[in-house]
Amino acid sequence: MRMHELTLKPFTSRRPAVLAGLTILAVVGFVGVGHLVKRFQEQQKALARHLYRQGLTEQQTGKLELALEHFRAALDYDPDNFQYELSLARTLRDSGRTEEAEAYLISLWERAPQNGAVNLALGRLAARQEHIDKVIQYYHNAIYGVWDSDPEQNRLNTWFELVEVLLRLNARPQAQAELMALSASLPPRPESAMRAADLFLQLQDYDHALAEYRRVVQLDHTNAKAAAGTAQAAFKMGRYRTAEHYLEIATKANPHDAQIADMLQTSKLVLQQDPFSRGLSVQERSDRIHIVLKQAGDRLETCMPASGAEANVPQQSNNLSQLKMQWVQMNRRLRRLGTAGESGLGDEVMDLVLQIEQQTTNCPRTVQDQALLLLAQSRAGVEQ
């Protein structure tokens, strides 16, 4: 060592020369270490790929814990890998470890705030945590974000998913707003319009649902589901003529669907009994009002509690007795139907029918009763 120092001394006493020497040594060091690091990282990445593939296999077979272990190990060996981190975060989220999943996702988001997949994952996490504001924020980021492949379809799916999530979280106004914006920018594809229509139906926005279903039917005449959807929307809106038309198409396509069959029968009955249909003669209108009142009276009789059971439900019994009295009075007044001063009698009958139907909810309801109720409700809606 001493000899070594002696030989270096003349050199090291010249400071600029020392600095030049150290600089050269540093450059050599950088090159050498850079080489080593490169080899190291290549090896680490290969190992990480292997572990990641194992993790994916385990994830697909539902072994989330094992998948997590392998994703973690993969990420240890390739810490910058976006995909590994995203997979780990998604698996963490799916296995209920939301806090850790969020930490990973936030770190990914900080690296790529415009990334659609990351924003979608964060949005799903926020949905799990029921943070509606965050849900909307991250889903919007995802909708307008960058996607590696098939951006148009991914954006569309994300938007639909946002509506579904908002519906699940009972945020109906937000869901409706999103769906209306979405439907305005839908591509002319039946499956997209169908999905939007179904969502409108869930939102009880029957008007828009009907429009979307009709769009589907226009694009694909053979689509029985769309016909059924159109019928359902029309039925809910009280447009029984349209409902009947589409229900008949749907019944032909699916004759064993009991729900469609019931709806069709109900629609037909409503149309047959509606005293306020356009084009009816005075007599026909009068007959229909009589029939409606009679059917309501029959229901009242059927649903009146037996004398022994009255003690159990005194309030209901009282109500039904009053309705019965009203019905009797109405029946008497109905004889003067068409005379001066009784022009609003039809509406009064329908009001009474509605009250009777509403007060007899405990009583089993036939298709006929259902039609009667819809008829009365429809009339009440028109009046309002």
């Binding site: 120092e5 001394k9 600095l19 150290l22 190992l47 910058d80 470890r97 850790e100 930490a103 770190s107």
Partner: protein
């Protein structure tokens, strides 16, 4: 005017320009003439190179540990795997052979060796130590011994700095300082946290603050971190989860953590302090077997279901911070890590204590937080928050570096909202640790090695005597420079003193004795002002808060040194003489 140079330049006769290094040859005005490469500047530049080389060495060290780990343990150690059982034993055996036959100076952590280099060996650390530490610590940690890479990195950095420095033409003081500068670089590179590294080296190794030291240490630490981040990326050692905002009512919860952490630190330190000398006293042939047996026991812990305690364990700290373990598992892991690290360390296996300390702290913090939240579910702190505070707690309690512990947590988390709980918990842990383990762990290890290094904790808390403790009231009267000699003679008539202080205008002090005044009168200068006769004989002065040993530098120059107020240099607070200083020291010693 600096506190450390009480004599103003104009008084001491030094001009500020004379303090910048040697003058240029022949008055040349080229680059080096404009910025001469003085020892100070050269030292600073060398600190950057020390940082660069330390950074490169630490990058290689980390690669070596990873490669060894994958080669010996496999890519992801799992319980009930024979490799996990046997690898640490094998690693321990190989390490022991290398330590006994080739690198006897690489045992233990490396912090003490660096301190010894600074205080005993004039900054000399054999380069062979760096090589030995690199190889043996990589094998030990890579094979699963419960040790960290920070302290070895610190020693490798110090060793590189020492090797570079001893070929240069530096003063002895500079040579001594190079080792801690390298230590800071090594630690910063390993820890990826330059502020904590700088603070640790200053707090635990150097023990004093000065601009010259701080500049070099910071430069080397930053350079090394830049190098490491350039090669290995800027990811932190573990991801910090979102921390909850601290609520004052929760302070009690963190106090409990500080108390538990303090006792855990005591147990940890006591176990090492008790077992290490016992094992070192065993016959020499057992030196081969001790690390192997320790490795076997650690392997057994891993084999039976806790491979988390093997190696440095940063990935498990990360998992603990993200609620991966229940509080029971966290508590078990903390206990097992203390056991495993004690086994590795007391058998002389080369490796560091930083990572295990952080591991134990994180697990303990998470466990305490988990228990507290079990009983008080309204507590807002997450497991991550408690784990992070727990790391600081163990750092303060076990390594006894309270300042570093606080800044480390802040640097790692990047969140200042956690500072209050950290300070409170650390203070409790530090207090408990000091009460039950008066000698800090690094000092204890040094003493076991037969060295007497200054205890920096003792130095920090040593009572310092100040000038105000020894000064006396000034002898009356105090004369003014505007007074004539006749007037001064009249003033001192009734005084028993022989020496009188004279206040100069605008500032400054001098003294005059009775004989000199009489002489001036006899020389016919009775109507001359004192100022015109004495202006060139200014005395140095002190302030009441100056350390007493500073007075020693001046009391031999003049019988009385004026002690003046910092706010008004013409206001005399007292005087001090060599007798006063010595009397005070005698009083303190007796």
């Amino acid at each position: 005017m600096s506190d450390l140079s009480p004599i103003p330049p104009e008084v001491s006769g030094l001009s500020p320009q004379e303090d910048v290094g040697p003058p240029t040859k022949g008055g040349q005005r080229w680059f080096f003439a404009a910025a001469p490469l003085s020892e100070e500047r050269f030292f600073l530049i060398l600190a950057v190179f020390v940082g660069i080389f330390s950074g490169l060495a630490v990058v290689c060290f980390r690669l070596a540990i990873e490669w060894t780990g994958i080669g010996i343990l496999g890519p992801a150690p799992e319980p009930h795997n024979l490799r996990v059982l046997l690898a640490p034993a094998l690693g321990g055996l190989v390490t022991a052979i290398l330590v006994v036959h080739l690198f006897p100076l690489v045992r233990g952590s490396g912090v003490n060796q660096t301190k010894a280099a600074l205080y005993i060996f004039n900054g000399y650390i054999p380069f062979r130590t760096a090589v030995g530490k690199f190889i043996t610590a990589a094998i030990a940690i890579g094979s699963g011994h419960s040790l960290g890479l920070e302290d070895p990195s610190l020693q490798i950095g110090a060793s590189i700095a020492s090797a570079l420095g001893r070929h240069m033409d530096f003063s002895r003081d500079k040579l001594r300082l190079l080792a801690p500068i390298g230590a800071a670089a090594g630690l910063a590179a390993a820890f990826n946290a330059p502020i904590s590294a700088v603070l640790f080296v200053i707090e635990e190794v150097i023990g004093r603050w000065s601009t010259a030291i701080l500049g070099s240490v910071v430069l080397s630490a930053i350079s090394s971190v830049v190098v490491v981040r350039g090669f290995l990326g800027a990811q932190p050692l573990f991801r910090i989860p979102a921390l909850t905002v601290f609520r004052p009512a929760e302070l009690l919860a963190y106090i409990v953590l500080g108390i538990v952490g303090g006792f855990a630190a005591v147990v940890f330190a006591k176990a090492i302090g008790y077992l290490r000398p016992l094992l070192r006293a065993l016959p020499a042939p057992t030196q081969y077997l001790q690390p192997a047996l320790a490795g076997l026991l650690i392997g057994l812990i891993g084999y039976l279901g806790a491979p988390q305690v093997m190696g440095a364990g940063y990935e498990y700290i990360d998992q603990a911070m993200h609620d991966q373990f229940t509080w029971k598992i966290l508590a078990i892991l903390a206990g097992l890590k203390i056991l495993a690290t004690t086994l590795s360390f007391v058998t002389g296996t080369p490796g560091g204590m930083f990572a295990p300390t952080l591991f134990v702290g994180a697990m303990l913090g998470g466990a305490v937080g988990g228990v507290e939240r079990h009983f008080y579910p309204h507590l807002a702190g997450t497991t991550g928050t408690y784990a992070l505070v727990g790391m600081g707690v163990l750092f303060a309690g076990f390594l006894r570096a309270p300042m570093t512990s606080v800044f480390m947590v802040i640097e790692l988390s990047g969140d200042y909202s956690i500072i209050v709980p950290v300070i409170v918990a650390n203070a409790f842990a530090y207090f408990i640790s000091r009460s039950f383990q008066p000698v800090p762990i690094f000092d204890l290890l040094t003493r076991q090695d037969g060295l007497e290094l200054p205890s920096l904790e003792e130095l920090r808390e040593e009572t310092t005597l100040h000038v105000e403790d020894a000064m006396k009231s000034p002898p009356a009267p105090v004369l003014n420079s505007q007074e004539t000699v006749h007037h001064a003679v009249a003033q001192i008539q009734g005084s028993a003193s022989n020496l009188f202080l004279v206040r100069l205008k605008p500032t400054g002090w001098t003294s005059i004795n009775r004989e000199v005044l009489q002489r001036f009168v006899s020389e016919g200068k009775g109507d001359t002002t004192l100022g015109s006769l004495l202006a060139s004989q200014q005395l140095p002065y002190l302030h009441p808060d100056n350390p007493l040993d500073m007075a020693l530098r001046y009391v031999h120059q003049t019988p009385l040194v004026p002690v003046v107020s910092r706010a008004d240099l013409r206001k005399l607070e007292g005087v001090i003489s060599s007798e006063d200083v010595l009397a005070k020291y005698r009083a303190v010693v007796n």
